[in-house]
């Protein structure tokens, strides 16, 4: 069975620093895979390598068996690789409606249309409405993104990545910075993602990880330290020592 | 051939002195100052006025040009430029274009639009022979002065405490502030020195480059080329870039006179094609 996403000995060095050390990660189709590790382990660097923001120093990235290592970000997105950013990267001056519209248009291949007014395509509009409903954004569709409460922005962040109908979705700390009363909604949205999407979740919060993940990889100093089912990892003494044993990391 | 080499080096060093202030300003304050040439023009015109109306000898005018342009720079930095550091580049461009327009019009109004002549003292005019090669005295003088300046600048930047503070501030302004480095004072000082050097360059260059109210606009592109190609992270980059530019221009004008300024522009475009960050910039 071809992995949805696979890396082969992926490396990234910055000057003398090795941020990613021969990482070979396999993400099965429909997986619910979590990536954890102490601060500075290189989790976000890995996500940047996977999505194409950073070029690797060595190694390959395979999406659905296809080598995408040399493809730029937008081409990987079109092949079905979506990601969210740890710190919201949204279009502050646009509304969620416009933002989702953009993503849907690009995926539907009409993003380059010069002539027809945006929003004319009925199918695209229906899709936007569906997305908004799924991610609880219907009420907030026409507010300026920068005025939305943080939790809702985070939801939009995920919605935008999801709009591209990815087969692989990389979620970089989706709950980070979200106030307590908005977290449940967010986590619910993540939990109800369809099964045909493989999800790689980068998280600090162990509650979220154990609630969600079916498989966990532990990243320490840029290399995969341990990998397995959640209860295996929870019981692994090395992991506890390196990470869990240091006490609860901040939520 | 050797004469061309010599002339090219002289021209290049002059360009360096003119442009180094811009390079440091851009690297330090991230400010695109298209009005840099106006300070050079100021230095040039001050020299002309001092010489023709008050009979001050040429060499004595040079430090005055430096100080006056530097003072002008310091004043403008404190009052106007300072407010715009955090604005987008477009604002810098618009602002400095506005300053240039005002300066050009003001000079045109007060001094007229004809080209100004600087009468060099006899010991600086003419040529002398070295091993059968004719060397222009003025160009030799230029090389000497500019060379000394380059060395002095490099020493200041790399050896003195001011220099290391400057480099720290260029590298990361916020961190430098956090370390207690008086960043504002450094900005002001650097801007003043940069403008002063431009003024000095204007005074030195009046004879070779020609001095008229359109000077800042005519030579803006040259300064920008030096800065873009040479990078903004030190002295060496702009220096080499200026030398290359000077040599290319002189050689181009000699071997293919009809090409005029083509050589420079084409060279710049070619370099930027290959290395968009300039020849020396470290990849960010």
């Amino acid at each position: 069975m071809t992995a949805a996403l696979e890396t082969v000995a992926l490396c990234k060095t910055f000057g003398g620093v090795t941020a990613t050390d021969r990482v070979s990660l396999v993400l099965a189709p429909g997986a619910r895979h979590a990536l954890i590790g102490p601060n500075g382990a290189g989790k976000t660097t890995l996500v940047n390598l996977l999505s194409g923001v950073l070029p690797p120093t060595a190694g390959r990235v395979l999406l659905d068996g296809e080598d995408v290592t040399d493809l730029p970000v937008e081409r990987r997105v079109r092949r079905g690789l979506g990601r969210t950013f740890q710190i919201n990267q949204l279009f502050g001056a646009m509304t969620p409606l416009e933002t989702l519209g953009l993503a849907v248009a690009e995926r539907a291949g009409i993003g380059g249309d010069l002539w027809h007014p945006a929003g004319r395509d009925e199918e695209a509009v229906a899709e936007i409405v569906d997305l908004a409903a799924r991610f609880r954004l219907t009420e907030a569709l026409e507010a300026r993104t920068s005025t939305l409460p943080y939790g809702r922005q985070r939801l939009l962040e995920i919605a935008v990545a999801f709009a591209g109908r990815p087969r692989v979705l990389l979620l970089d700390e989706p709950a980070a910075g979200v106030p307590e009363h908005e977290r449940d909604e967010l986590l619910d949205a993540v939990a109800t993602l369809p099964r045909d999407v493989a999800v790689l979740l980068i998280e600090h919060d162990m509650d979220v990880v154990f609630r969600f993940a079916e498989r966990i990889s532990v990243l320490v100093n840029g290399a995969i330290y341990a990998e397995g089912a959640p209860d295996e990892i929870a019981r692994d003494p090395r992991v506890r020592a390196a990470y869990l044993g240091d006490g609860e990391s901040d939520g | 051939m050797l004469t061309i080499l010599f002339d090219g080096v002289a021209y290049g060093m002059l360009l360096f002195v003119l442009a180094v202030g811009l390079s440091v300003t851009l690297g330090l304050m991230n400010f695109v100052n298209l009005a840099h040439g106006a300070f050079a023009m100021a230095g040039g015109y001050i020299t002309v006025v001092l010489m023709s109306r008050y009979g001050v000898p040429f060499v004595a005018c040079l430090p005055v040009a430096f100080l006056a342009a530097g003072a002008l720079g310091a004043v403008l930095e404190r009052t106007l430029y300072r407010r715009l550091y955090d604005r987008p580049h477009l604002d810098h461009v618009l602002f400095s274009i506005g300053i240039v327009f005002m300066a050009v019009a003001a000079v045109d109004y007060t001094m007229g639009s004809q080209q100004q002549n600087v009468r060099l003292p006899p010991w600086l005019s003419g040529r002398f022979d070295v091993a059968g090669v004719g060397i222009g005295r003025y160009r030799a003088f230029l090389i000497a002065i500019c060379g000394a300046l380059v060395v002095a600048l490099q020493l200041v930047v790399s050896r003195t405490r001011f220099g290391s503070r400057l480099r720290a501030a260029v590298d990361d302004r916020r961190v430098a502030r956090g370390l207690g480095i008086p960043v504002d004072a450094i900005f002001a000082g650097t801007f003043a020195v940069g403008s002063g050097l431009a003024g000095l360059g204007g005074a030195l260059g009046a004879e070779i480059l020609g001095l008229d109210p359109t000077f800042p606009l005519k030579f803006m592109i040259y300064f920008l080329i030096v800065v873009t190609v040479g990078g903004t992270r030190g002295i060496v980059g702009p220096f080499v870039a200026a030398l290359v530019l000077g040599l290319a221009d002189v050689a181009g004008k000699y071997y293919v006179p009809a090409s005029g300024v083509f050589v420079i522009y084409t060279l710049m475009i070619a370099i930027l094609l290959v290395r968009p960050q300039g020849l020396f910039a470290r990849p960010r």
């Binding site: 945006a118 026409e142 | 274009i97 109004y109 080329i225 300024v261």
Partner: protein, 337 residues
């Protein structure tokens, strides 16, 4: 459905817009003695509109937009002089030349940082200026291109000294191209441009092919500028070096900045204000108009352009799109008006 309605509201022609264009044509009909100035304003407005497409919508700062303007002007002038005086054909030729020139330079312009782009755009304009200057047999050099004779439009309307045909001609071309630009800006393509301008990283992460879109808009803008230059050549039947001069690039930048980049009417408004101000100031101190221009720029930047534009925006309500507020929306605030 609400969503579709929201989109539709964005690109509906507002009454103020229609009124403006009606007013423009009324001005043509009534102000017959000011026709030459009206013509100039229309041409400048088109030029500023073209710069808005790249500056206001794609965020590219260009100091050399006059390159395309001048290229179009010379192309149209030379075409009329040597091949055919037909004005519309000349426009087409000029547009083609500008487009070709753009393709040649677009990949240069889209590399590197802000500063590099500034340099390259400036450099290209200067190179063209030099070429025009030196190739005197073709372009007439510093004396300008003489002997440009334009045939009557449609064989009926001659370009005479009153300038009325010229004004109408330029105004119609401006309107047509404006309508096209408006459609482009309100299309998915236009939305993707705004996204690129706002957050290029996110734009790529949404699947937008950033470079391709930027090349496309840059090309369109260049073509528009070329047409503007052609209009100048055809209506004044003369082309001089200042069509390529730095001054022209700086002037159009200022016009756009005064009017406000990013809403298409900024260029037109700016051109109007600029031309009127130029007439007023030139009356005061004919030679030193640039001094006042510089002063305006400095003051404008120092006091903050955004505040000025926000005040104007509040006057011209709904320029960003009438947004129907959903019932009971508490976390919702109507889009900035």
């Amino acid at each position: 459905m609400r969503v579709a309605a929201a989109f539709a509201a964005r690109h509906r022609w507002r009454r103020a817009e229609i009124a403006f264009w009606v007013f423009a044509f009324v001005a043509w009909a009534v102000l017959s003695r000011q026709a030459p100035i009206g013509n100039e304003i229309a041409i400048l407005a088109l030029f500023a509109l073209s710069l808005d497409l790249i500056l206001g919508y794609a965020g590219i700062v260009s100091l050399g937009h006059a390159a395309f303007f001048g290229a179009g002007a010379y192309a149209a002038g030379l075409f009329a002089k040597h091949l055919s005086g037909d004005p519309l054909l000349g426009l087409a030729v000029a547009a083609g030349v500008a487009t070709v020139l753009d393709f040649a330079t677009s990949f240069l312009v889209l590399r590197g940082s802000d500063l590099t782009r500034l340099m390259v755009t400036l450099g290209v304009a200067l190179v063209l200026g030099e070429i025009a200057n030196k190739a005197t047999t073709i372009t007439g050099g510093a004396d300008g291109l003489q002997g440009v004779v334009i045939a009557p439009l449609f064989g009926l309307f001659a370009f005479d000294l009153t300038g009325r045909t010229a004004f109408a001609y330029s105004l119609v071309v401006l309107l047509v191209l404006f309508v096209v630009a408006r459609r482009i800006v309100n299309s998915p393509f236009g939305a993707s441009l705004r996204a690129i301008r706002d957050n290029p990283l996110r734009a790529a992460a949404v699947g937008i092919p950033v470079r391709r879109r930027l090349v496309a808009i840059y090309t369109i803008a260049a073509t528009y500028a070329g047409v503007a230059g052609a209009l100048l050549a055809q209506t004044t039947q003369f082309v001089s070096l200042d069509a390529l001069a730095f001054d022209r690039s700086a002037d159009v930048l200022l016009m756009l900045v005064i009017g406000g980049p990013g809403w298409l009417y900024g260029g037109i408004a700016g051109a109007l204000v600029f031309k009127i101000a130029q007439d007023v100031f030139s009356g005061l101190t004919p030679q030193y108009w640039h001094f006042w221009l510089g002063l305006v720029l400095v003051v404008l930047v120092l006091t903050g352009r955004e505040r000025l534009h926000e005040r104007i925006a509040r006057l011209v309500r709904g320029r960003r799109g009438a947004v129907p507020v959903p019932p009971g929306g508490d976390a919702v605030r109507a889009d900035r008006v």
